[in-house]
Amino acid sequence: MSNYLLDVQGLETTFKTPDGVLHAVNGVSFGLKEGETLGVVGESGCGKSVTMLSVLGLIPSPPGEIKAGKAMFFGHDLVKMTNAEIRQVRGAQIGMVFQDPMTSLNPVLTIGRQLEEPLMLHVGMNKKQASERAAELLEMVGIPNAKDRLSDYPHQFSGGMRQRVMIAMALSCSPQLLIADEPTTALDVTIQAQIMDLVKRLRNELGMAIIWISHDLGVVAGLAQRVIVMYGGLIIEEASVNDLYANPTHPYTIGLLGSLPRVDAKERTKLYSIEGSPPVLYNKPTACPFAPRCKWAMERCWKENPALETVSPEHRVACWVDTKTGRAR
């Protein structure tokens, strides 16, 4: 029995497409402790969203298929659960927030009705109790006149407000885990700051664990305690947040951080640019997926895929090269 709240081992997910089988996730393993905030970063197509959707049993099958792996949550394997079983977990013990607050709410149902549904379904409240609790939840996420707004429809809310509603809904059944997939990407920076502030406050009040998926290394820096960097459907680096940003070790992480201009930059320097573009994996990678874009790449990198190795306590990297010396590790 592991001491993790969520323990994912060797997860592999593929999709059948007209062009061939797409290997989206190629053996991902990580653990999440209770109350911990884990940031998952990577560019589009790196497999970060598919990993979480696989864990939640939300991969449409076909075309998707979970080929291997397990995701242990309170002693049960989420991957092996039937649809009926996982529905009891989703929304109750695991809350979810998605990127687009415009499309993840049902436009023809009132906000109140949508907030009440999980409460009646999972907690067993009656209509009146659920309605009261829904108003409390809206208040908790900072929506003024919460009681009156229950009868409003989603189009009467702004983007930032809708994302607040989504968060209220995700937290309605007091989940132990909140999975947020790019929840602030569609929002403006001042609204993003509001939402991040809200999430930090709720985390302190409610103590749930969070998996925060983002392509924005800045957002993750301000929120996460531990960070996973993904590339080509694999975890290529994992470290505590301070360690990752102070000592990025994988060539991809180094490149990604170097290619970001900083708003607090002292002087103007040329941006570091990683040449080429991320891979589209129609074959399961047998070599390091980053090798074609890596300036450190050696012969071995083109032949064997490196596994995650511990380089210092709580810092793991999948790379054949020691980027500090430029020689083989």
């Binding site: 403006d188 700051a193 290619s259 930059a265 990683i274």
Partner: protein, 331 residues
């Protein structure tokens, strides 16, 4: 603001209102005040960054400058000539000097045209190169934006987002413009690709002495690429100054809040920062607040802010602010 030879573009009190029609008779019942009296200059060879949140009118400003919309009021003087008064052939010839790079490299390229047709189209339309030499010109342009000239016969769908944006840049460069409006050219791209495109834009600027109006919502990238930065809020410019000045000494409360909301990819620096979190949302540009546009969210607003619109004034040399209380933040 005085004009001289260094000024390539002078925008004076530019206004763009889009009418709202309602009812059976389609009567005009109001207007979306997308751009509401904007004035600034762009000097030859510089990059002016234009930042703001979605719906603030920054893209409309760029498009109105290029006369893609007919402005409601105001003037746009490009190279000493007023574009607003121009029509037909005169304007068409002027357009050779002003080009645009669009945000979405997926939507801005015709999927049924090959790269050669796409990049060569402006050359043919403006008849600047004999038809026989177009192909040679296109190859040269592709090399300029670091694309393999052998790809000329391919279609847009065969390229990645970053490559498509390079095609869009090659197309914009085809007529050897002196001024390019870059409308969020990197927002749709992945982080590692953004740096490639920004570096390319900087190289091209040095090579061809280009002047950019760089529109973006990403303040970190705007700081990186711009010489001067203008901040827009709800159809007006609230602050305009040099890039370092703006980031080190923001004088408008909106700029201050915007800067403090930008995440920094450094957990230690991020934790030490003072943050101003604005409340509420941006009001609708169809019904903007009276007086100062920002007063409904402003932490220091007073009664007079609702009565009169603060003048866009030069508080320090080259530092323009539209706020009654800008002096408070001068050290």
């Amino acid at each position: 603001m005085t004009s001289n030879n260094d000024t390539l573009l002078k925008v004076d009190d530019l206004t763009m209102h889009f009418p709202i029609y309602r009812g059976v008779f389609q009567r005009q019942v109001g207007a979306v005040r997308a751009v509401d009296g904007v004035s600034f200059e762009v000097k030859r060879g510089e990059t002016l960054g234009l930042v703001g949140e979605s719906g603030c009118g920054k893209s409309t400003t760029g498009r109105t400058i290029l006369q893609l919309y007919k402005p409601t009021a105001g003037s746009v003087t490009f190279d000493g000539q007023d574009l607003v008064k121009m029509k037909g052939e005169e304007l068409r010839i002027m357009r050779r000097k002003m080009q645009m790079i669009f945000q979405d490299p997926y939507a801005s390229l015709n999927p049924r045209m090959t790269v050669e047709e796409l990049v060569g189209e402006p050359l043919i339309v403006h008849n600047v190169v004999p038809p026989k030499e177009v192909s040679e010109h296109v190859k040269h342009l592709l090399e300029t934006v670091n694309l393999n000239p052998a790809f000329a016969s391919r279609y847009p769908h065969e390229f990645s987002g970053g490559q498509r944006q390079r095609i869009g840049i090659a197309r914009a460069l085809a007529l050897q413009p002196s001024f390019i409006v870059c409308d969020e050219p990197i927002s749709a791209l992945d982080v590692s690709i953004q740096a490639q495109v920004v570096n390319l834009l900087e190289e091209l600027q040095d090579q061809f002495n280009l002047t950019y109006l760089f529109i973006a919502h990403d303040l970190s990238m705007v700081r990186h690429i711009s010489d001067r930065v203008a901040v827009m809020y709800l159809g007006v410019i609230v602050e305009l100054t040099g890039r370092d000045e703006l980031y080190n000494k923001p004088l408008h409360p909106y700029t201050q809040a915007l800067l403090s909301a930008v995440p920094i990819p450094d957990p230690v620096a991020d934790a030490q920062r003072q943050r101003t979190i604005l409340e509420g949302d941006v009001p609708s540009p169809a019904n903007p607040p009276s007086g100062c546009r920002f007063r409904t969210r402003c932490p220091i607003a007073e009664a007079r802010c609702a009565e009169a619109r603060p003048e866009f004034r030069e508080v320090e040399p080259g530092h323009f602010v539209a706020c009654f209380f800008a002096e408070r933040f001068l050290k």
